[in-house]
Symmetry: C2
Subunit: 341 residues, 2 copies
DNA sequence: AGCGAGTCGGGAACCGGTTCCATGGACACG
DNA sequence: CGTGTCCATGGAACCGGTTCCCGACTCGCT
């Protein structure tokens, strides 16, 4: 174990000079700086972040609070964040607060209190008031992805617009009996992603004079969830819709699988549109509104870095380069279906 | 910011006594211990892990090196590990060494050298000799999941047996023209999971006297990868197989989607068997050999904890409660297909 | 020549804990 | 009553860096 004292001795300087040379603060002549750096390289010296952060108060580490790692969106975002943090020389500690586990309370009460990080990124989390107070009490910058919180800078896409765009695509094709799968009635419609996407669907329907046809089915935001909801929606042949506006691509894919299982053809019997730009979208020829979670990860890292460096930054960043990619899971409805409506 | 000095002052004892009372070492009378604990609770004191680890050398943190977070297997394993570590009061820092990025070298050279952890878990990683040397030079216990390394304790399932079991199921149904999708010829057949599953397939074929029929197609271990390979295998109607033994469920699902796209029925035209027990398996009625990544995550944490506590432990733990779950993606081959062989 | 500003480097304090060592009291035993 | 052991506690050193403060030296200017 070689410490900075060894480096200093080899370079023939004092600890303080060695530290200045390596961290780049204060006055050090170019020649001695070089000598110190060489000495450090020779013995393979790497500063202990523990010791450094003890005095500087900065850990070069950020905490990421995330509900899932193996849902596509969250996985992609996480990888985007990891890349961004690596580039800024930060480590990443993972706090996985999966719903339905007891770990959430323990993480908020116990693990976060250790303050092993300079800042926190939350992803798709809606903290309770108590949790929010906890976060604030850490006295570290907190930024949120996908959900606005009072007093916390955030990044998100315009979920209302995205879902409205998807629904308008179906309406433009001539569909009128369109069901939305994903949003849950119990959700706070302003706060949650699910809720905002439901709102987008409803906005589009109302704008087209189809307010009376609004119908939505709650679903887990996953392929199996979409499958189950799809089975339910398709199950009743009498008031079967001609199109589905799904809140995510995973839901959309699940719905497509359910439709095929039931012997329905996509898109001739049923059009399906999703939101995400999932890696499976192409395979299923899924029409979807793309968002790029990796970029969102990068953006949230930028925002946090602004806060850490004390740079001024926006309260809220709205990423909007989302675009509709039309593939062959959507088409005009069958004529008989149209008249039957 | 309250430190242990504040706790000590409030409790009316010295720093050293306060420390002993809170960490549980040395002699402290029950009454003063209680007084200290109360004082700590009153001011919401949480010890700085940085300061503590500076002197103890233990960080209460482990590093996890993982190639993907959003492949099902890896995501599940990661969640299993997170749960296990939380239970032991450890934090988790994530080192994501996605193939095809430059981050891998930076992580091994730069980030690991910071030694912010008491131990390392690698998942499905095959380190180069240089990387292995790096890991050893950290002087911290390293354990590996899914891949044996010289001098490193590990946990894995019997990939050869698992794949053999899957293939034997197809042979038992009467299939003879069975293609394996997944393994790559270039892989070290002993070292990699892909390779071992290929070996299991070949073993089963040879044992059944079908050695001459052995055929395998390399593929990315993902749904799109399986889809692409499936298209390729099915593409040539002349020597189309009657069954596919896929190296993972994601590959199997991709193959099923490809088959359906081509108008083939599963299982009547093509039987498909996978390995994993993926969350999509039921939806696709996939016959598969289940493994439980979450348990593997728990097991690898146990192994690391043994090493950290200095307990003796096995060099290698072979988890074998893997079982074949038969659903309806596999069936007897069509008679004409059998004779045509 | 005298002086101030700017540059360079060393000594020592400090971050917030843990642990070694010394001290002192209580108690048992010869 | 002296002495040894055990228990409880406090003081101080220490972990490995960073940073404050101060002294010395150089240089340019009056």
């Amino acid at each position: 174990m070689s410490g900075i004292a060894d480096v200093a001795r080899i370079a023939g300087v004092s600890k303080s000079t060695a530290s200045r040379a390596l961290t780049g603060g204060g006055y050090v002549s170019e020649s001695t700086r070089q000598r110190v750096i060489d000495a450090a390289r020779v013995i393979g010296y790497v500063a202990s972040p523990n010791a450094a952060s003890l005095v500087t108060g900065r850990t070069k580490n950020v905490g990421v609070i995330i509900p899932f790692v193996n849902r596509w969106y969250f996985g992609e975002v996480l990888e985007g964040i990891e890349d961004g943090l690596l580039a800024c020389d930060y480590d990443l500690t993972l706090y996985n607060v999966r719903p339905g586990t007891t770990s959430r309370a323990r993480i908020f009460e116990h693990f976060l209190a250790r303050k092993r990080f300079d800042g926190i990124i939350t992803i798709g989390i809606e903290p309770s008031p108590a949790e929010l107070a906890r976060l604030v009490s850490l006295e570290r910058p907190v930024v949120a992805l996908g959900g606005q919180l009072p007093g916390i800078a955030s990044v998100s896409i315009d979920d209302v617009a995205v879902s409205r765009l998807a629904t308008e695509h179906l309406i433009g094709l001539g569909h009128t009996r369109i069901v939305h799968i994903g949003g849950e009635r119990s959700d706070d419609l302003v706060g949650s992603v699910h809720g905002r996407r439901l709102t987008g669907y409803m906005d589009a329907m109302e704008a087209a004079g189809l307010g009376a046809q609004i119908l939505y089915v709650p679903s887990d935001m996953s392929v199996p969830g979409g499958y189950a909801a799809g089975v339910q929606v398709i199950g009743d042949p009498r008031n079967r819709p001609t199109a589905i506006s799904a809140a995510s691509d995973e839901v959309a894919v699940g719905t497509i699988i359910a439709a095929r299982r039931t012997g329905m053809e996509v898109p001739s019997d049923l059009s399906v549109v999703g939101v995400d730009g999932h890696e499976y979208a192409e395979m299923f020829s899924l029409t979807t509104v793309e968002q790029s979670p990796r970029e969102q990860g990068a953006a949230i890292v930028d925002l946090l870095m602004d806060a850490l460096e004390g740079r001024p930054s926006a309260d809220h960043v709205l990423l909007h380069p989302t675009r509709l990619v039309v593939r062959s899971s959507t088409a005009r409805p069958r004529p008989e279906a149209m008249t039957r409506s």
